[in-house]
Amino acid sequence: MSTAVAIVATALVVVALVFFAAGTAGVLRFPDVYNRLHAVTKADNVGLGFLILALVITSPSALIAAKHIAIWIFALITSTTACHLIARAALQRGIEPWRPR
Amino acid sequence: MSSVEIYGAAAALSFGLAVYGAIAARPVIHKLVSLNVMGASVFLLLVAASARPPAAPDPVPHAMVITGIVVTVAATGYAVALIRRMEWERGSGVLPEDAAPGGAASEQPGGGGRERGEGGAPEAENAAEGPTEEGRSPWPGPPRG
């Protein structure tokens, strides 16, 4: 692995960490389940994307890179579905979306 | 301080915490969660104690732990079936000997129900624990709270 690739990969991981940190802060600080879901799924999907990108550019073969991308796509599908199901269950149980006072 | 020692200590501490949970938690399902943590801690302890880096990891404990994980999920599945059965029969997820210190109405969704007679052993145990709300009133009571 050349130094340039290593620097780019490190930068991508740092960007990913920023998104993960933002998502975590959202889960801890946002007022209701819908806002928290928004924060965690959106930020974590993007963060995971950057992390996967860093792994792809450092992976030793195209096959391994393709597997990494497949992991990201499956994570997108499952986290979107899980987010939808949790929000739906919350709505069905009558949890009112938060409104600023 | 090596990673093996760090994980060994973590396994011992998690095991101790889970022992507390298995004894002190009152809902049986909470005890079951604690028992699962105990099991995972034992597996971690086994692998950490057998690891001798930089030597290659020992595959025999790994295989034992995989066997253990599968047996644990089988036992947990059966325990979950028993807990559901108990809740269906008794209307409560708490064992009679773990009866609430101060009235258990809120722990029995929808007012709760129990198949045993009022003069049965569980009530006698409740009475022995002190004047609980459940022990005094004819049971099942009306929904409270």
Binding site: - | V4, G21, P140
Partner: protein, 340 residues
């Protein structure tokens, strides 16, 4: 450079270990059973990372799929709405009533009596102390069991040492483990409660995701199974991934075929036990011990056992999750069929 990497990894170890203990402490301390269950799933995922750090990739796969995934689903499933046979309901002439589990009327458990909590804390401290003491006296210079395994490796029929231990050297353990799974399914089904009313269909997005993810999960299961001969993976990890697909399909409302589905499931549940016993008889047929297969036939036998075991393990895990047998005649029981 090398020491910097070691230092960074050591920091990762400390963070993971502290997270593990923190999860254990939080899930024990909370009075909310749902929260404890979610923390247990987090604990399982952390554990999978720890297995990776300890070089136990086979165990990491099993922990993520079974320890966190299937066990988490089982524990959450135990807290969903279910019917309750109640005295009051019976008096009103109904066999059982529906007992909803919503945040508002979910039971709030009070802590145990102080005397019990003190006793539990003393027991926990004593156990943790003894384990730490024992751990400090584990001999650091021993060769482990790998040298005993090494002579069996060349003609065992697989290259992944964990697979060799599971399916050749200690095949007895694995046979009994599969019997334990089967026994758990039978016992769980024998104590089943009546099915809850069928919930409304969970929506188009879950159905669409299920159509994508179930084939993918089956494919990943097959991959794990095939790779397990030479690399981390194998029947248990594969079976757990496929079981996850089965649970997902059941959630999405996929139903069994009208005829024959229940019988096929029962046949699949016992298939691994029967095939494993049959493979075990290969040794006695050649004048060797039970479950003894080496050399030319070993690879084929291990492959057959693993394929059938994957099927049975997946069905068993879905079976205990469902908690009740599939109805033999769907025509008669009508809407009670929720075994997907």
């Amino acid at each position: 450079m090398a020491t910097e990497v070691t230092g960074a990894l050591l920091a990762l170890d400390v963070v993971l270990a502290v997270s593990l203990v923190g999860c254990a402490a939080a899930l024990v301390a909370t009075a909310d059973v749902f929260k404890a269950t979610v923390l247990f799933i987090v604990f399982g995922v952390m554990m999978a990372l720890v297995w990776g750090r300890l070089g136990a990739v086979d165990v990491a796969l099993a922990e993520a799929a079974i320890g966190a995934g299937i066990t988490g689903a089982l524990l959450l499933g135990a807290q969903t709405a279910q019917p309750a046979r109640r005295r009051g309901a019976a008096a009103r002439g109904r066999e059982h009533t529906f007992q909803p589990a919503t945040p508002d009327d979910a039971p709030v458990y009070q802590p145990a009596r102080p005397s019990r909590r003190v006793a539990a804390a003393l027991a926990a401290a004593a156990v943790a102390g003894v384990v730490l003491l024992a751990l400090s006296r584990v001999p650091t210079r021993h060769p482990g069991l790998a040298p005993i395994l090494a002579p069996h490796m060349p003609d065992a029929g697989a290259e992944n040492p964990v697979t060799v231990v599971l399916l050749s050297v200690r095949a007895y353990d694995t046979l009994l483990e599969i019997v334990v799974l089967l026994a758990a399914v039978i016992a769980a089904w024998a104590s089943a409660v009546p099915a809850a009313p069928k919930p409304e269909p969970p929506g188009a997005l879950l159905a669409a995701a299920t159509r994508v993810m179930v084939p993918v999960a089956v494919l990943i299961g097959g991959y794990l199974l095939w790779r397990g001969a030479a690399a981390p993976g194998g029947a248990f990890q594969a079976g757990a991934v496929i079981a996850g697909a089965g649970i997902l399909a059941a959630f999405a409302g996929v139903e069994l075929p009208r005829r024959g589905g229940a019988g096929l499931i029962r046949a699949g549940l016992v298939a691994a036990t029967l095939v494993f016993l049959g493979a075990g008889a290969y040794g006695p047929a050649r004048g060797e011990p039970f479950l003894h297969y080496r050399g030319g036939a070993a690879e084929g036998l291990i492959l057959v056992i693993e394929v059938v075991a994957t099927l049975s393990i997946a069905l068993s895990l879905v079976g205990v999750f469902m908690g009740r047998p599939p109805p033999r005649t769907p025509e008669r029981t009508g809407g009670d069929d929720e075994f997907g």
